[in-house]
Symmetry: C2
Subunit: 251 residues, 2 copies
């Protein structure tokens, strides 16, 4: 099966990583809109427009399903992606929310994400919601441990301490600093990584649709902008070098 995955940029590679852990004999077609990343600071109208273009691109690549790795797009434009898709579409919000509801002991769930995700109606069942807008640029600039990231973890995660027992990491970038977040929050708060949950959903779908053949076993990574820095960042998110599999595209 040809698994289509798209994201505003490179963060969705954390989703690719989790999917490949459970499904490594299927090919990935990834689209990262690196020419227009980030989406999380933009208006709903612009996010919807970009999501539409991302979807059309993946459909043109003949994918068998579409995973919306981006929490911002999953929050604000999943219906638009579905409208423009002729194949099944999976967003990250529902599986993450289901997991949180399953593991919470007191029903006090929090979510942290981009400004657009937090201002949307997504994750409506949580009791504490907080944007953490600086985390994406910090992680992309490589501040994944040390004073800089910890200053902002303190700033953004303080509200969750003593207020929730389960926290959804509602942006693809945050798993990269999971260790630092865990250190700050302590063992009493469960962290939910939407990337792990969506991987389970995709695995389930693939196992129930074994009739769909994969004619091409090569992973492809399409980016709307490519520079040496993006290739380094991709390595951080995915754990290995994909420079020979990257192709620049216009969408």
């Amino acid at each position: 099966m040809k698994l289509g995955i798209f994201d505003s940029g490179l963060g969705g590679l954390t989703v690719v990583k989790e999917i490949k852990k459970v499904l490594n004999n299927h090919s990935i077609v990834y689209l990262g809109d690196t020419a227009r990343v980030p989406y999380g600071t933009r208006s709903a109208e612009t996010i919807v427009k970009f999501a539409e273009e991302d979807t059309k691109f993946l459909i043109d690549q003949n994918v068998d399903l579409i995973v919306v790795a981006c929490n911002t797009v999953s929050s604000l434009a999943l219906d638009v992606v579905k409208k423009h898709s002729s194949v099944p579409v999976f967003g990250v919000i529902v599986p993450a929310m289901e997991k949180a509801l399953k593991i919470t002991r007191n029903n006090k769930i929090g979510v942290v994400g981009t400004r657009a995700t937090i201002n949307s109606l997504a994750y409506e069942k949580v009791s504490t919601r907080r944007h953490a807008s600086m985390l994406v640029p910090l992680i992309e600039e490589g501040f994944i441990s040390g004073d800089e990231i910890n200053l902002f973890i303190d700033k953004y995660f303080k509200d969750f301490v003593d207020n929730v027992d389960t926290l959804i990491l509602g942006c693809t970038h945050y798993p990269i600093i999971k260790t630092e977040i865990k250190k700050y929050l302590g063992d009493q708060i469960n962290l939910v990584d939407p990337a792990e949950e969506i991987a389970g959903v995709v695995l389930n779908y693939v196992e129930n649709n074994k009739n769909i053949d994969d004619k091409d076993s090569n992973d492809k990574f399409y980016l709307t902008d490519v520079n040496p820095r993006f290739i380094e960042t991709a390595k951080m998110f995915l754990g290995y070098d994909i420079s020979d599999k990257i192709k620049k595209v216009e969408i």
Copy 2:
């Protein structure tokens, strides 16, 4: 005269502010590419493409000149802007460099800017160059004083202490934190704000071309994405509210 000014986003409003100080009886046509900001982290190829589209938009608005407020575009794509423009084009690099050469006592000049600006050939005559990639998102998120911005000022400006006597603030956002930068660097280092220098250049051109009439005295601010947050940020850069003058456009 109809003064066309474009920038990757809202930072160019610091240039508008300086131009209006010296020329307030001419109209401004501003384009901020807020749907695709920032430019400074992207490849030269993508910056060139965006600059081309920005230029075409301003030319279609019948401007009498084009000011490239963005240091990144001025560094990497000024020739492209000139190629697509039928009116005079002014970038921020040359006037800033000239000012620095005029005021330096020891010819040790530094420049701080986006990664794209610093990696380009612009500001070639400086002796110390340093990107400060986190400053743009920090300032846009409102961290313009306090621990967060000072942690990064220390990180990025340390190299300039004892090494230069003149420092060019090579990004439209940096004048917003000029007070904090001055506090850190002390009185021994002169700061050059390209916005002030380009304003002088534009004033000079306008005075020498008094024959060009201005048929429309209203300022117009075109943005490729609009949300409440952008309107707040615009106020920070410009000093007053322009929400009734903003129009969303696609380019």
